[in-house]
Symmetry: C2
Subunit: 339 residues, 2 copies
């Protein structure tokens, strides 16, 4: 592969001049410029990004470590992150942590070894020493969706409180009183927050959230299935199950189906995170939709701001309730928008 030296030789100038042309430095004669460009053309020269990065200490690359690529929510997030990054001149390397702290650390480590310019993380756990060190060492970093409390890093996420209130109001109006939740891992902020938001919303209607109605899931389909089976085995099973993410809702659907029961007649179902398929499931699933694309874009902007020396701010966007039929029929569909 042709190097800058070959180009210099071909154009009859020094490598410095070639470099100047390529980085359009002002003081290059028109003559030299055209000769260099011609040489670049004939040799099919492309600068070696590795060499350039070594010298400039910039890779123009962002690392994105997400909890689970197979989760459509994160897939969409990854897509919007890549789009915005590309628009700003950055590439993205995605690491899939698969909800496993060890894998998350593996990816953070290799990304740091590659000297990425900044890191976008949706932490799987409460924060490994590795990540805390990186943050403290000044690696530009932004948390997206989930975050680690007590770390001085901007957080880009959506606030589901309003939407969860709307959801509980919707459920209450339909007559449901025994509401259960399939929670995410307590080590994640979203895992805890969604339970809290749910509990608070229930309190508004004078309802409680007994421990038996809190199932411990891990954001994966299988755990949703398992927890739902546990609910169905209770002496007094809940009337509604609220899954804290879309995969656990899928698992819940599996469990209900395996018993030959029906949604919403035997058990109503709602989910956090809306996905396209929810329109076509049997029945269509009521869900809380996050502004996923906007979150991804905002996260990239915040990270690039940090990288380029600007402040880089936290962003919180509201989620909203999308009512479908999985919680029972309703006469007047009210979709209060949250603020």
């Amino acid at each position: 592969m042709a190097s800058i030296k070959d180009v210099a030789a071909e154009a009859g100038v020094s490598v410095a001049t070639v470099s100047r042309v390529l980085n359009d430095h002002p003081s290059v004669s028109a003559d030299a410029r055209t000769r260099v460009l011609a040489a670049v053309e004939t040799l099919g020269y492309r600068p070696n990004a590795v060499a350039r990065s070594l010298r400039t200490d910039q890779t123009h690359t962002l690392g994105l470590v997400i909890s689970d690529v197979m989760n459509p929510y994160f897939t969409e997030l990854a897509r919007s992150v890549e789009e915005e990054a590309r628009a700003l001149g950055y590439s993205v390397i995605i690491g899939n942590a698969d909800e496993r702290p060890d894998l998350q650390d593996h990816h953070v480590r290799t990304l740091l070894d590659r000297r990425i310019d900044g890191l976008l993380v949706s932490p799987t756990d409460g924060g490994s020493p590795l990540m805390l060190d990186a943050a403290r060492a000044g690696t530009p970093m932004v948390f997206v969706d989930r975050w680690i409390p007590g770390v001085d890093v901007p957080v880009v996420r959506s606030d589901g409180r309003g939407a969860v209130r709307d959801l509980v109001a919707h459920l209450h109006r339909l007559g449901h009183r025994r509401l259960a939740i399939i929670a995410g891992p307590a080590a994640t902020t979203t895992g805890r927050e969604r339970v809290e938001a749910f509990r608070e919303a229930l309190a508004v209607f004078g309802l409680e959230l007994p421990d038996a109605y809190i199932g411990q899931g891990d954001f994966q389909a299988e755990s949703g299935r398992r927890v739902t089976e546990g609910f169905l085995d209770l002496a007094e099973p809940p009337e509604v199950v609220f899954a804290a993410d879309n995969l656990m809702a899928l698992g819940a659907l599996d469990a209900v189906r395996a018993r030959g029961l029906r949604v919403p007649d035997d058990l109503a179902l709602a989910a956090f995170d809306d996905i396209r398929w929810f329109v076509h499931t049997d029945p269509p699933i009521t869900a809380i939709a996050q502004p996923t694309g906007e979150l991804g874009r905002a996260a990239v902007r915040a990270l690039v701001d940090r990288i380029e020396g600007r402040p880089g701010e936290s962003v919180t966007l509201p989620a909203r309730l999308v009512v479908r039929r999985s919680c029972g029929e309703h006469s007047t569909p009210v979709q209060r928008s949250t603020t």
Copy 2:
């Protein structure tokens, strides 16, 4: 960030010795080794992958350019690719072409600039000059799922012919005679092949595939919707629509639903590519399942073989039919396995 020089100074040896310890070269004294390792520990030293790559001309990175990350099939493919690559000591950079040749070229170019060791591509089109040049120039490369004819590059894909024959047999048994297909882009091999396989299977039963029953899609949901509406507007609409991928099936479902019609009573539906949600759609969708994970792993193995100087062979794995209810009820569910 500490460099190899700092480690050398701390350990009281030369950088050469540090490098030897790190790459466990045999001739290093036990004493020097322990001193170096201690220095590495106290400084928290991590070798700079950029510098290493510049010198060794290896990045231990694979590029994966896929047609559409939002398509669950490709998401799963990407996941298995990353897993196998990690097991073999490689990282993966994913580029999402979004079915756009220009984006595909963009990613191929940046990946080559980064001097990735090898490229895994599922081409969006018939092959840009850029990609053909790269293949000719000797960049280790493997096509996965789709390929470009006439290029000397291993292809890892699944053969759907057997499964499509099974599907048509299934449809014929259910009494369907007017079968239509939503095709993928003619520029892709899978786009063409699936239509051909379908046509051949129909021929076995003495059925034809009239042009009016071939809708031109682009593997995206919206095109599935549009084509299905066209089918429904025909004087004699088809009884079955076979979507060449899962997203177009989603679009077809949207279209049927928008007209207030029902699957399979008004129009039966089948799809190429099986996804988890197909179990829970209304009705559950009959689909042709590819061994996606195995494809991804085989592709990585073939690519790494090429990179490391071994032959690197093409692989073709059979797909299989998964019968559900979207084509009508059947008495004895026959799922012939293909060979």
